[in-house]
């Protein structure tokens, strides 16, 4: 136990401020205020992989590591669409995931936001449209915002999220 406590003490607090960027700092403050105003200080995200290669999932996971610690903004990932304010969708919507994505969308209570994360979700990416994939998420459900990148970095995901909320 002492070793664990020692390691925690040595590691210290690693959570970083976002890059010192006037626009972003402003957005960050507005985000906190926006989440407080629109979502009672807590924004719940349900992530749906609709056919991604799993790279986007790796980077979304990273949002929970100590460096990004997205929960500090009141953002957290939930297990059920019933609890979600936002659907964060990745992948070129494989035909086999189309129905599951539609049902997840329908199960999310309004008002809801849909964010398409990654190039595949934005425009079909490397996979495009074929017998097996529908391409952009907007071909299947209404999309409120797009975060490009292959995959988007954790920072890009955070910035994208902040901007979405500023517009919402």
């Amino acid at each position: 136990m002492l070793r664990i406590l020692n390691k925690i003490r040595q590691t210290g607090l690693i959570t970083e401020d976002l890059p010192r960027d006037a626009v972003l700092e402003q957005v960050g403050e507005q985000l906190r205020a926006g989440i407080a105003r629109q979502f009672q200080g807590s924004l719940a995200i349900r992530q749906v992989d609709a056919g991604s290669c799993n790279a986007c999932e790796l980077e979304i996971h990273a949002l929970n590591n100590g460096y990004y610690d997205i929960e500090r903004y009141g953002v957290h990932f939930v297990a059920s669409p019933r609890h979600a304010d936002v659907l964060l969708v990745t992948g070129p919507v494989s035909v086999h995931m189309e129905t599951a994505l539609l049902r997840t969308y329908e199960a999310t209570p309004a008002p809801r936001l849909v964010i398409a994360a990654g190039d595949c979700a934005a425009c079909g990416g490397e996979f495009g449209c074929s017998y097996a994939s529908r391409g952009a998420v907007s071909n299947v459900i209404p999309v409120d915002a797009v975060i490009p990148g292959c995959p988007p970095t954790p920072l890009a995901l955070m910035q994208g999220l902040l901007q979405v909320l500023e517009q919402a």
Binding site: R3, G51, C53, N65, H96, E126, Y131, P151
Partner: protein, 527 residues
């Protein structure tokens, strides 16, 4: 060890069994040995190989005019033997390998769904990759099937005949395809009594994106990009396997510096994924401290990737003919200087992993895969190594630059979640060792040779030891340097079925940690 010293014995056994080898070729798909046999001998050839301790390593098909060419891979001692036969498109009947190799089950059903090959004595002819969105009598990888065909408006997977359980107290738990966490989609059907799992059946294929079909007609660079997205966590290894296959088809030799950089990227990918997995395994048994520590180490590691190689996950760093760009001496120095700090961190964390009682309580004896089960399924990578399967291509059949390195493969016998974590722990240390050598002895010179498209009909085989285990990849070129056929075989094909076995008798709440310890790729499997 001389390569293929077992082949003459197998050929003698084939002769005893009156299996006619029409043509043998050691160069067409080197380093593998290719044997052409008659379709009626297809099943017995596998039966004899199974009796001779050969591992089954994959099957794929390709339409050539009015015939389907079917190729199966067998392996022993790091050498690969390819069996090949032709069946007419009008009556594509072939004996199955599944009766002798249970690991062949799903891949044969994939070939059945994608090409329409009928495996006559397959014990389970249910569809696998087809989810009723294309017709049962149309096959996406046949030439007449257009890549942009409109999917059928069929309702989803409601009529898939899952295995049923009956009896007092037995109940079913359907999970997925959308899971509770931030992971890929797939369906798991549990039968349980109380907390205990009686049976688990997987239904995969939800992220089928038609990778094999949309690969057709691409140029070499386009295929490398696609290969880098077969499974995002294995982007380096899949891209390497595809480029290796294309370069062998084109008889192109990659410069030594590019070889070394590829291996450095590959070992960095192995370390990054193992770091993430160890943390995630701990998180699945609520040891948040370890999860955060390993997530931190992984993040630092990925940042070095971004700073030195231009991409956190190293996507598109490997291209046909070499690597996309060179590293400056400063970048090499930065990668080199990250190694010792990581070792020091691990030196304080590993002892906690090794003897933390509540961790031990949850991981040891959980999700046991016996050596016999692993061997029968042909399990690869850390799943195989944790269950006594001593195989690693980098050591057994080294490809450049591993031919000048010493690779150690950690093997355990207990086959539980703890052993699968211990393999990863040791492999991180071993990979760091390899990285030191690779970076300290980085050859000078070019990092790319110009790509030269080979003649139509040229084919090549890529074989690399990915972080999940051996990746096998077949590429055949058509006219104008365009891809005619691409088949990447991810190790997950053999590790997913292991999860169905190792969960037996465990409690439902231990499924997440068992699943994470196997960590199959959905995307790499669904294609």
């Amino acid at each position: 060890m001389s390569h293929f010293d077992w082949l003459s014995e197998l050929l003698a056994r084939y002769q005893d069994e009156h299996i006619l080898v029409r043509r043998g070729a050691a160069t067409v798909l080197a380093p593998a040995h290719l044997l052409e046999i008659d379709p009626e001998d297809w099943g017995r050839a596998a039966q004899v190989a199974a009796g001779y301790a050969c591992r089954w390593a994959g099957v794929w098909a390709e339409q050539r005019d009015a015939e389907l060419t079917v190729t199966a891979a067998l392996a022993r001692d790091g050498d690969h033997l390819l069996l090949r036969t032709q069946v007419p498109l009008s009556t594509p009947l072939l004996p199955s390998h599944t009766p002798y190799y249970p690991g062949a089950d799903r891949m044969e059903r994939h070939v059945q769904d994608m090409h329409g090959v009928v495996f006559s004595d397959h014990p389970d002819a249910r569809r696998w990759s087809r989810h009723n969105r294309w017709a049962a009598d149309s096959y996406p990888l046949r030439k007449e099937f257009a890549a942009d065909s409109a999917p059928l408006p069929t309702a989803p997977e409601q009529d898939y005949p899952f295995v049923q359980t009956q009896g007092a107290g037995a109940y079913e738990i359907p999970v997925g395809p959308v899971h509770a966490g931030i992971i890929e989609p797939g369906h798991f059907r549990f039968q349980a009594v109380g907390e205990m799992v009686l049976n688990l059946e997987q239904r995969l294929g939800y992220v089928h994106k038609g990778i094999e079909k949309i690969a057709e007609g691409r140029d070499a660079q386009g295929l490398a990009r696609l290969a880098g997205r077969v499974s995002g966590d294995s982007t380096v290894h899949h891209a390497w396997a595809a480029c290796m296959a294309m370069e062998r088809a084109a008889h192109l030799t990659v410069p030594p510096r590019a070889q070394a950089l590829r291996a450095a990227y590959a070992e960095r990918e192995r370390i990054a994924n193992h770091l993430g997995d160890i943390g995630a395994i701990c998180n699945d048994v609520a040891f948040a401290f370890m999860w955060q520590q390993f997530a931190r180490l992984r993040e630092l590691w990925l940042r070095d990737n971004a700073a030195c190689c231009g991409h956190r996950l190293l996507m598109d760093c490997i291209v046909p003919g070499g690597v996309a760009r060179d590293l400056s001496p400063e970048q090499v120095a930065r990668l080199r200087s990250a190694i010792d700090p990581l070792r020091r961190e691990l030196a304080t964390l590993y002892p906690i992993l090794d003897d933390h009682p509540s961790l031990e309580d949850r991981l040891a004896t959980t999700g046991v895969l016996s050596a016999e089960q692993a061997q029968r399924l042909g399990c690869l990578g850390y799943v195989g190594k944790a269950s006594g399967q001593d195989a690693d291509l980098r050591r057994d059949h080294p490809y450049a630059p591993y031919d000048r390195l010493h690779v150690h493969a950690p093997v355990f016998s207990s086959g539980d979640v703890e052993a699968r974590m211990q393999v990863r722990m040791q492999e991180i240390l071993d990979s760091l060792e390899l990285l030191v050598v690779l970076l300290d002895t980085l050859p000078d010179g070019a990092v790319q040779v110009p790509w030269q498209a080979p003649a139509a009909g040229s084919e090549g085989l890529g074989l690399v030891e990915g972080w999940r285990g051996e990746i096998l990849c077949h590429v055949r070129f058509g006219a104008d340097g365009r891809i005619a056929r691409y088949f990447p075989r991810d190790p997950s094909w053999f590790n997913w079925p292991a999860l169905e076995l190792l969960i037996h008798g465990n409690i439902v709440p231990d499924f997440p940690v068992c699943n994470k310890s196997v960590n199959g790729s959905y995307s790499g499997h669904d294609l």
